[in-house]
């Protein structure tokens, strides 16, 4: 047993609550969601396991505190630092024993100097033809104060304007088309005879089934999966889109991922109303924040990790990206094909579509387009109406 582990074990047997709280605080400082009952469960586990070596301590603590796979690396770092590394936790109760853990969130997001939305748009004016239709955006008017802002490009809003628009954006209700649920509901008309209900009803009429009852399949909304590009060129739009998805995370129970070079699931942060936190976390995870996107790689991550397991199956998938692929476009094409096989419909929101002379003939967008069901701009508040519409459309 390492001396650190021995010290900790001693502290634990001397004053279990105190040692547990010291560990809990370190974990909390490193970003793990720790609640008092977790500490209690750790103490109970440790006392059951008896005189503890490092391995027993490790498992008691991990089983007590960790509630998801993503937390394991952070936990390992903090546990390692506390038990093998630094100090007697009881000696430093007011301090922050986890401060040296590598998980500390010191890397602030650099406010990405946008590479500018003037990418390889191309000059050809021909309309793209794949599975996609490039739609002109209808101008829908929203409530009074924001009318002026309705058609302003989202990347040209200043902070005050964004606050106004943000409120409206949050209210846009995203709803996916329904799918047939497995469960059925009793109804007077429907495809199947409900024998049980019919028999029961027949008691009222002396055993003759006068009234026939049926069952009909229920409709459920489809899952909505949003993949949001937060790389430099998309950064000005990402703020507004995240607000849209924050509303959707609660209303339509959307699953949201953000990516620049890595894919991060932010559903939970959005559901708790922390869009800003989600953005910060995503940018902290993307070391080259302003450097462009590895779209194909991010999609591959999604397909391998979540899509294949069932998240994308029969769902409406919305990709928010300018399609500016830094990696290999053919990988993007392959991954889009895989995604298209899983998903019900794929909607691609690309603010550059609205630019004059835009034509998706180059690079990433061209590779992705054959597998996209609808390509729309979503570049202004008014244009977001079209996004709402596209998400609700049937195949």
């Amino acid at each position: 047993m390492t001396s650190g582990a021995a010290t900790f074990a001693r502290a634990l047997s001397r004053d279990p609550a105190f040692a547990a709280v010291a560990l809990a605080r370190s974990l909390q400082a490193a970003g793990l969601p720790v609640t008092p009952d977790r500490s209690a469960s750790f103490v109970a586990a440790a006392s059951l396991l008896g005189p503890a070596g490092r391995a027993e301590l490790y498992w008691a603590a991990r089983l007590g505190f960790v509630t998801s796979r993503d937390q394991i690396p952070v936990f390992d770092a903090v546990f390692g630092a506390l038990v093998d590394g630094i100090a007697d936790p009881a000696g430093d109760a007011r301090g922050d024993p986890g401060a040296s853990a590598p998980a500390s969130r010191s890397s602030r997001p650099r406010s990405g100097e946008a590479a500018g939305p003037d990418g390889p748009g191309g000059a050809g004016a021909g309309a793209a033809r794949g599975r996609a239709e490039v739609r002109e955006v209808p101008v829908g008017l929203r409530a009074s104060g924001a009318e002026r802002l309705a058609d302003v490009r989202l990347d040209e809003l200043d902070d005050a304007e964004l606050a106004v628009v943000g409120r409206l954006v949050r209210e846009l209700a995203l709803a996916t088309p329904p799918r047939r649920a497995r469960r059925s509901r009793r109804s007077l008309r429907g495809e199947h005879l409900d024998v049980r209900a019919t028999l029961r009803r027949s008691h009222r009429t002396g055993g003759d089934p006068v009234m026939r009852l049926h069952r009909r399949r229920r409709d459920r909304p489809r899952r909505l999966v949003a993949l949001l590009d937060v790389s430099g060129s998309m950064a000005p739009y990402a703020r507004a889109y995240l607000l849209l998805l924050e509303g959707a995370a609660r209303g339509a129970r959307a699953e949201t991922f953000v990516f620049a070079t890595r894919l991060t699931r932010v559903t939970k942060a959005l559901r708790d109303g922390r869009a800003r936190v989600a953005l910060e976390r995503a940018s902290a995870a993307a070391p080259d924040w302003a450097g462009g996107t590895r779209l194909g790689e991010a999609l591959r991550r999604f397909n391998d990790g979540f899509g294949r397991r069932g998240m994308a199956r029969d769902a409406v998938v919305v990709v928010f990206s300018d399609g500016w692929e830094r990696g290999d476009p053919s990988l993007l094409g392959r991954e889009m094909e895989r995604l298209a096989r899983l998903a019900y419909r794929i909607v691609w929101v690309n603010p550059r579509v609205a630019a004059r002379g835009f034509s998706p003939v180059t690079g990433g967008m061209a590779a992705a387009l054959p597998h996209v069901d609808e390509l729309i701009s979503g570049h202004s508040l008014a244009a977001l109406d079209a996004v709402v519409e596209a998400i609700g459309r049937h195949r």
Binding site: P33, T35, D37, R38, S41, A44, A45, L48, L49, G50, A55, E56, W59, A60, R62, L63, G64, V66, T67, S68, R69, I72, A181, R182, R183, R196, L199, R200, E255, T267, K268, N303, D304, F306, R308, R309, G310, M311, R338
Partner: protein, 298 residues
């Protein structure tokens, strides 16, 4: 019952040994998790890649305890009639008809008695007489609706089930509950808080060889070693569905059946369908050359 359980499984080593006795090789983490789950007692939430043996772990736990495994496979739209209990309507109706024909009287209390209740897995687990707890496996919980998790909370917290016509049925011996999830969606925090959480990783190579040889008796160490090395390569490569332990066992069984003594390119070619279930994956592996897949370290 805690007494008997404590006697049977006094410490983690005893858990490891009795799981070993039923041919399930658990590492320190999983054995500790099971030990704590039984003795605290607290439900155990297992997550891990498909095919690392989550379901098998619950099965082994039941076998090690010598009790029943009661399995509830979750799916979308599952409701309490399928998880908990249902009234046996045809039988109630028959009883009424018989009573009518015989001119007898039948009261409501007769009809809503225990005889007319059909137990589903959760109720079955609650009513398990003991002395050792039954193992209730709630498999692939992430497939069920979020509402179902809320329904589980009463079960997990009190080991009790409420039936309006009969009242609350409390477990004499609370079942050992094992939940598994494939992480297609996040489970609710309220549920996670009541559980011990354990992530099952792929086992290290030597242990996996041992597992495979246990499950396919008569396999030579060489063949099992070949297969495990190939599995590790596949998991490290770009395949869409990395093979789990279960696929490895199938693969070895297939090779055994064909009489292969070592895994070479020809044998791999004939049995690739046992490990890779996507056409693209098979094509990619064949394109890279089966030689590199089965190649032995120099």
């Amino acid at each position: 019952m805690t007494g008997e359980l404590a006697e049977l499984l006094p410490d983690v080593d005893a858990v490891t040994a009795s799981l070993d006795g039923v041919d399930y090789l658990a590492d320190a983490g999983l054995a500790t998790a099971m030990f704590l789950s039984l003795r605290l007692p607290q439900p155990l939430l297992l997550e891990g890649e498909a095919g690392v043996g989550k379901t098998e772990a619950a099965r082994a736990l039941a076998a090690a305890l010598g009790t029943r495994l009661i399995r509830l496979q979750c799916y979308e739209g599952m409701d309490s009639a399928e998880a908990l209990y249902e009234w046996n309507y045809p039988r109630q109706l028959l009883r009424i008809r018989l009573a009518e024909a015989g001119g007898a009287d039948v009261g409501e209390d007769d009809l809503f008695g225990r005889d007319y209740l059909v137990s589903r897995p959760v109720l079955e687990a609650i009513e398990h007489p003991g002395p050792l707890p039954a193992v209730l496996l709630i498999d692939e919980l992430d497939r069920a609706d979020p509402d179902f998790e809320a329904f589980l909370l009463e079960l997990l917290a009190d080991a009790a089930v409420t039936i309006p016509e009969l009242g609350t049925i409390r477990a004499t011996v609370p079942p050992a509950v094992v939940l598994t999830s494939n992480r297609t969606r996040d489970l609710h925090d309220a549920l996670k808080r009541r559980c011990l959480y354990h992530w099952i990783d792929y086992p290290p190579a030597d242990r996996e060889v041992e597992i495979v040889r246990r499950r396919v008796p008569g396999t030579s160490g060489e063949l099992a070693g070949d297969v495990v090395r190939a599995l590790a390569r596949l998991r490290g490569s770009d395949v869409q569905k990395p093979p789990g332990i279960a696929e490895g066992i199938d693969w070895v069984a297939a090779l055994e059946l064909l009489g292969a003594e070592r895994l070479d390119a020809r044998a791999a070619d004939r049995t690739l369908g046992a490990v890779l279930k996507y056409r693209e994956d098979q094509a990619a592996v064949r394109a890279a050359g089966l030689e590199t897949l089965v190649g032995r370290p120099a």
